[in-house]
Symmetry: C2
Subunit: 199 residues, 2 copies
DNA sequence: TTAAAATCTCGAATGCGGTCGAGTTTAGCA
DNA sequence: TGCTAAACTCGACCGCATTCGAGATTTTAA
């Protein structure tokens, strides 16, 4: 009868995530209590903590799964973007749409990513993926002669990544309302980045 | 006897900030409770909320107060001599040094302000202060002919601000060790920003 | 088969941020 | 000076995340 407990655990774990995701999208992260989640999942409140070490971890686990989806979309999608500016915009808008599919999703993800209390290995892995992807974009732009060669790709990637963060912060801070607003903002940022701001 | 209340209020306010800063440096933001602060400040817990609307506001206010002096000095100094790149670097390094005076302090501050759980008016005010300052830097750079005119100063400010965030994230993520490393990173970012990255 | 060890469960307890409202102090004016 | 309105103070309270601990269930090994 080995594995009975394992199997139950997997079911309970899934029940918690399902309940949490459902409640989070209905009521939002803040308004959803652990007790709500436990009740919907059909378990006791304290039992949740056998599976997740904190409320936010439930959400990050879900985020993690979702991001896998975003990356696979990126990998399969044939890029129609021709120049660097378009490529950057396309890349980040795919990420943006994914991350803000549910508003809370993006916010918590950003909180966990930007100045984490504890390092989260899964998220670090994701960031590395972003950076690798970006470095490839820059490498090919350099090959096409669109940008100067001999630049540190790491700093270029970090630069555009930070602009993406700024766009997201604007979205969550109430400065931009729609995805279109965000796209316009990003477009301006990338123009500045590529062309510089001199006369 | 006019101003008696005003004076007391100012004293209490200062007592709260002092207590908070002291406790925070010792125990960290999370571990310091409002009650601790109230006790050290010699007042009741609820009274803290007459002066500050939330725990983070105490720290934001402290930062605003401390940085105000540094910046007004900077404002008068900066009009002469240096160019945009240097001015930006100077501005952000003052902020960086202040914020990382105590390492934990900086991390907590960033956590509290980057993707807040709920919109916070005081936080908006706080950020607006820095943006206004940056806009002035850009305005005078435009007047000197250093950068193209007709650009949206708001986007320029947001751009450099996001680079500062990236540098800080790098510092807390373990990518740069010393203040000097951070300054070098920022310098590279600002060069990219000003000059663009084309061949 | 069985009994000890390991693990899981969950109601109860803890601690904290934040609010309430009754009591107190001050300001302003007659 | 006396009186009222406005503003301040703080103990008590609320809701919620997280931890405790004691009892239930499952695994392991002989």
């Amino acid at each position: 009868m080995a594995g009975l407990r394992e199997q139950k655990k997997a079911e309970t774990r899934k029940a918690i995530i399902d309940a949490a995701v459902q409640l989070f999208s209905n009521k939002g992260f803040e308004k959803t209590s652990i007790e709500d989640i436990a009740t919907v999942a059909g378990i006791g409140k304290a039992t949740v903590y056998t599976y997740f070490s904190a409320k936010v971890d439930i959400f990050l686990t879900y985020c993690d799964d979702e991001l896998e989806g975003a990356f696979s979309e990126l990998a399969t999608k044939q890029s129609r973007a021709s120049d660097l500016h378009e490529q950057l915009l396309e890349f980040f808008m795919i990420m943006f749409r994914f991350v803000t599919r549910d508003r809370e999703f993006g916010r918590q993800l950003m909180r966990a990513t930007s100045f984490p209390e504890e390092a989260n290995p899964a998220l670090k892995e994701h960031n590395k993926y972003y950076f690798d992807f970006l470095e490839n974009i820059f490498r090919s732009a350099a090959q096409r002669g669109e940008i100067a060669t001999g630049q540190d790709y790491y700093y270029l990637s970090a630069h555009v990544f930070s602009l993406y963060f700024a766009a997201l912060a604007g979205f969550y801070g109430g400065y931009s309302e729609t995805a279109e607003d965000v796209e316009n903002g990003l477009s301006i940022f990338f123009r500045q980045f590529i062309d510089g701001i001199k006369p």
